[in-house]
């Protein structure tokens, strides 16, 4: 008998959420919530805390988009996705965007019909081994047992790397990072391979991090970025330029601390003015208001602040900026100009 209530509820939900691929922005505004796909749990990038609040680097980006579009960084429904469910969730319209360390590849962009709006973290696949193994290079891992997370590009990279170097290995597929860590710590695998950021985060949480090393080889390029559905260019632009706004904000020295002061009146730097909406009408072009970028930056700080707060060197994860430094500092993080 409950069925009927659900049928009723379903029809309402169906009518209310009638998502047509082209109008994500209107849908999000009508709903008053941004549906953002995140990881089910990865230290530093996205996990719920004891109060059920989601925290992390990717989560911070979701909040920035919600702030830009809806004016409220809390207006986000976080939809935990696994490696398996993430793409269907996005393709079916269940989520409006996916911010779940997903590698930008040609197949995903072209064949699976998604649009990567940019790169928010440059990563690469590495190996974590214990120090006492005496291994200094991934090429020494002949015959080793290696834990890999399934459902990602990692297993393909791994197969390619070992085939190219003509050495053998034994893959141990695992579902989640927590399991991988457990197996690795117990010595059920010699090496644990995943994105180097994940390895650093994992290593940081060990009882004795100094007993483990990340091998120098990075065997793949893993540009991780948020993605949206193919075919809705307005929405894609909004998400892309929110990311760019966070990046530019760092470059131009706009932080959550000084943003109130900077946005109060047009300042001397025209690009800062354009970003903060005190000059020009970039926000309107995107279909938003003038303050969109200001709100996005205030949600969790600029790119650098997000990085420092969630995964940076002052956190237990202690990731160095490295490739993810601003282009001025020798990194790859680079935003097209706001004009």
């Amino acid at each position: 008998m409950k069925k009927t209530v659900f049928l009723g509820a379903l029809t309402v939900a169906g009518l209310a959420a009638g998502v047509s691929a082209a109008a994500t922005l209107e849908d999000v505004k009508a709903r008053g919530k941004l549906n953002c796909g995140v990881v089910t749990g990865l230290v530093g990038f996205g996990a719920p805390d004891a109060n059920g609040e989601w925290q992390g680097f990717d989560v911070g980006f979701c909040r920035a988009v919600a702030a830009a579009v809806l004016g409220d960084p809390k207006a986000v429904e976080f939809v935990p996705t696994t490696g398996k469910t993430r793409f269907t969730a996005l393709a079916s319209g269940e989520i409006d965007m996916l911010a779940r360390n997903t590698t930008w590849t040609l197949t995903r962009d072209v064949d699976l019909k998604f649009e990567f709006v940019g790169v928010n973290y440059y990563d690469g696949q590495g190996f974590l081994v214990t120090k006492d193994m005496g291994v200094s290079s991934a090429k020494d891992l002949d015959g080793a047992t290696i834990c890999i997370q399934t459902g990602t590009t990692t297993e393909l990279n791994l197969a390619d790397f070992f085939r190219a170097n003509n050495i053998s290995y034994e893959p141990v597929p695992i579902e989640t990072n927590a399991e991988g860590q457990q197996q690795y710590l117990a010595g059920a695998c010699d090496a644990y391979t995943t994105d180097a950021s994940g390895l650093a985060a994992t290593r940081a949480s060990f009882e004795d991090p100094s007993a483990h090393v990340v091998l120098p080889e990075i065997i793949s390029k893993e540009p991780l970025g948020p993605l949206v559905r193919h075919g809705d260019n307005e929405w894609e632009d909004i998400v892309r330029w929110t990311l760019n706004a966070l990046i530019s904000a760092e470059e131009l020295g706009i932080t959550s601390a000084n943003i109130g002061e900077l946005s109060a009146a047009p300042g001397s730097n025209p690009e800062v003015n354009r970003i903060l909406g005190t000059e020009g009408n970039l926000g309107e072009m995107l279909g938003l208001d003038a303050d969109w970028a200001k709100r996005a930056i205030m949600a969790g700080g600029n790119y650098g602040e997000l990085f420092a707060k969630n995964i940076g060197e002052s956190t237990p994860i202690a990731l160095a900026r490295g490739l993810n430094a601003q282009w001025k500092d020798g990194g790859l993080i680079y935003s097209p100009p706001f004009r």
Partner: protein
Amino acid sequence: MTTITDPKQGQFRLSMLLYDSRYRAITIQIIALIGFLTLIGWLLSNTAQNLAVLSKEPSFSFMFEPSGYDINQRLLDYDSQDTHLRASLIGLLNTLLVAAMGCVAATIIGVIIGVLRLSPNWIVSRLTAVYVEGFRNVPLLLWIVFTMAILIETLPRPSAFRKGEASMSLWDTVAMTNRGIYIPEPLFSRSLGDMHLLGASALRFDVSLDLLALLAVVIAGFLTSILIKRRADIIQEATGLRPRTWHLRLGVVMLPFLLVLTILGFHLGYPELKGFNFRGGIHLRNSLIALWVALSLYTGAFVAEIVRAGILAVSTGQTEAASALGLRPKRTMSLVVLPQALRVIIPPLISQYLNLTKNSSLAIAVGYMDITGTLGGITMNQTGRELEAVLLLMLVYLAISLTISAVMNWYNQSVTLRER
């Protein structure tokens, strides 16, 4: 008199489709069929529209592209350059392997526990009750991850063997590590080699000629042994005395078998610690053992209840009648109790086998590469062909289940009581 209620011929009215019991059945069936076809058509058209929006053409051609990933446990040869089809086949074999191992172990565990639960020994019957209730009332998935965690956390790592903190068991033949258990493997120094079948196709497989030779000898031995038994039966019927034949029958089976083993140069290959891992021997991986043990223990608890119910179902009057007829306890068991108990036990037992096979799909939780892990896991992920992959996956399981059900029905029919 009946002609009064029967309507006259040729007076068909439309309302008779509803009110005349002769036509009503047809009407209902046609409505049901139309409803069903409409539903299917609706689903298909929705699917077609949605796929058109996603611009994904339903196609199975991805199955013939290189998979690009490696599988650790493979019963047939496979590498990352093989097709997704081949990877699925490897997965299917792994499913069947763990299902078969699980069914055997669950039966053994179930029978032992089921009998022990009826034991007059208080502590034993309590312990077995705890086992049965404990396993039946906690989700299988939890048991699987639990078993995996126990294996990983309690067994020594290979490096402990190198440092001498752990040593191999059973006179240095078996290595129990937290990566799995290594047991000796049979090797043939004068091997006949392998036979490669089906060329280079995705279904290719090798057959060991050594194994074939051994099988042939054993089967021939058994056939001879049956002949000897027949002859003994005939003699018994004719003379009333049964010649002693067990030594002859044993010899007929064992001697040629041992002979062939010697000719082929049979020896055991022991696992050895080399590099990071043990090499040589048969490697039973953690994931296989965890899944196998958890599935067997979980299903074993259900089987134990079935066995107990089966034994209790045979009334004591049967046993008493058998002893009144002068049958000895052993023959009472084999001729009176067991056949009746089995009739009660086997149907639910087979449906437990069915459950076990389906439950083996939980392998995904411990990374055992069964068909759900290959076709429904990595292949589906990497190709993005959810519709096709899930459809194939369901068909495979359906085929397995229907085969088992067919066996069950066949058995049920052959043992049903012929009632007059």
